[in-house]
Symmetry: C2
Subunit: 454 residues, 2 copies
Amino acid sequence: MTEKVVIIGGGAAGPKTAAKLRRENPDIKIDLYTQEDIISYSACGLPYFIENIIQNPETLIMRTPEDFQKQNIDIHLKQRCLSVNTDDKTVLIQDLISGNKYEASYDILVIATGAVPVLPHIANINLKNIFTLRTIQDGINIKEKMLSSKRAVLLGGGYISIEVMEALVQNNITVTLIEKNSQILKMFDEDFSQMVTDYIIGKNPGQVTILTNEEVIAFKGNENNEVSEVITSSGKIIETDFVILGTGVRPNTDFLQGSDIKLGINNSIKVDKTLKTSKQGVYAVGDCTDNFNLVTNRYTWVPMGSTANKEGRCAAINISGGSCFFDGILNSTITKYFNLTISIIGISYREALELGFKPEFAIVTKRDKAGYMPNTGTMTLKLIADRNTQTILGIQGIGEGDVNQRINTVIPAILSKTKLESFMNLDLPYSPPYSPAIDPVLNAAQIVYHKING
Amino acid sequence: MTEKVVIIGGGAAGPKTAAKLRRENPDIKIDLYTQEDIISYSACGLPYFIENIIQNPETLIMRTPEDFQKQNIDIHLKQRCLSVNTDDKTVLIQDLISGNKYEASYDILVIATGAVPVLPHIANINLKNIFTLRTIQDGINIKEKMLSSKRAVLLGGGYISIEVMEALVQNNITVTLIEKNSQILKMFDEDFSQMVTDYIIGKNPGQVTILTNEEVIAFKGNENNEVSEVITSSGKIIETDFVILGTGVRPNTDFLQGSDIKLGINNSIKVDKTLKTSKQGVYAVGDCTDNFNLVTNRYTWVPMGSTANKEGRCAAINISGGSCFFDGILNSTITKYFNLTISIIGISYREALELGFKPEFAIVTKRDKAGYMPNTGTMTLKLIADRNTQTILGIQGIGEGDVNQRINTVIPAILSKTKLESFMNLDLPYSPPYSPAIDPVLNAAQIVYHKING
């Protein structure tokens, strides 16, 4: 009988585990330790707080320590886990206020320490007004600086930079995005990445610059040690008021170096489908764990808030004696830039080629409703299928039309490896306010089927 | 080698077949006969024309006879097919202008005669201003009458009545809907039907009345033979300016009585998965054919514009020597009443019980985006699963939130009989503007899984 569960980490996965554990077990002791001074918040909402769509950062907090206390879950703020001793079943914790260290014992340990930003090796990266965006305090700091600024530089062309760019542009900041690869959104095929770039530039001409194949080699500061210039590999000097580093994250697992808990890809924690680590009694959930990709059948590391929530729930069920299998992920992501929805599921055509599939693709640009209805939006979908198995490997979707409906339609078909021949005549509900008589995603499937089978 | 294809019917399926046939075969002769004076139009758009969201009824026409002529497809308007002789491979056609009859020969015949309204046996049903809504001319007639009216009665509580009701209410008509069953939208479970009723009444209090368990027994006319009163089984007398009969449709197959082409359920034409009828060389597509229901594994008859288009395309491929299987349908339907989306896929809980399944269900009411985002909408989903197979049998969704995204996510899972255990952790893409971290449809799946498995 489990008596004492210790959870390390207070982002999304840890609190989710705690709450679900309590629902399943009224009596066990649950202690959650986090190095932060806040728990259970949505980091994914931070760009919208910066944009000022959300005014109060507390809105992003799902549950407070007091909420948890009411459920008899003890939250320990500003307490960092320094190491895990799986023989003694203890964790070593440091109180970040007093500096004191102490041990806490567990019957079951759940590691949910999330991810931390990767800081690139760039000269003078410690200047003031060079930010990362991971915590609510990061969001508050960026917003405050933004409100008194005119220019910003974003490093890295991933989703967070796109979301933050919208926030900054809406607040009249002139933005330069610098990406070291040849395209932004590198998980997309080049054509779709280019469509996003074109939309961003076209949306606010003159206000946004996107530089690709460009690396930042140094920052320069003013007399107050505030960043004032960004210097690139091609010799560009970009004046700026602040910088946001969207240069990726890594699993927050340094404290497990030297422990006997097995790490996997990118030093994420290796877990099985029940969220168990290599050591008995130790679970791991959320951004600090590895993920099994159900399209490529390979282990990968894709930190996502939705996965964190599902894993937390699943681990809690398993700890409580139930049975929950988290089979894996499909690399499903979505974001928006103003009215443009941007989404990719599964793998791109390029990645399919690299992985040795024999891929074929179809690209369709269609309206999202019957053509005669008002307020239709268009979308461009790229459906990628495997010639050998005639199943779908991935979809990319971009448009002001209802992309997400189509993307979501493909996801269960990827999971269940539905044949194109069945999928292309799928009975999707039709009504003029919702779709054309043959849905765009079925058009795409028909075309790719035809390209494969003649 | 097919040389001459004759298509009977000009709604959605016939023109779709013709167009696809031409793309596949530059040289064959294609003749399409229709009793109407217009072809290739979207009957599903007619309520929005009446509402005046669409001003010009010609907008609903996808392709004109001239468009087809450019593709060397001969369209013969106002020509009714009286009978089919499959021995001689001829059809008997009557010219509705001159009254003359003549035979046309075919190598391949495609029957696409659609459906016609069912006229209930009610006294004085031939009075003026009692309409059905099937053709563009019907739509024009109703709109014209509506614009000079104050009151209307709708018979039947199906989708068309709901859509027409929106149109009428928007145009300041006081509407009474009369439904002989105990609920409107009889394919839904009672609870969901009631939610729609409540929304309709609450949306425009005093302007709409919904009477259930009520039959119309007679119409009464004024001195101009215009309908003026509707008399019901419970003795109600409802004054009205016009009436719209939404009392269902039946396959337009009377002309096949006595032919050797096999008819199925409701006198729809029996077709196999390649859209072949029982007679060699004769195909049938669209609303006049039967349908195989992939959830119940039974034949059914569900006339839908989307199915018509897919069947037309599929038949054309098969006629052209290709291979296309139309496996069946899932009873997928969607409509809206003002901002309320209303959708059902598969079967209801009640129908599942009737069919001998061991169903379980979950009902969730959730917001469609992260709770802290502006402009979230709510939705209520009812997910029905089979205890024995742990697969999904159907979903009902109602709400001002983004219901259709969730509904569409379930459809491929119903088709592929994905286990609940896999579906409930499906990797749907998460971003605050698009969904909560755990999507409502996954919440529903988790709950129904839990109800089945403890």
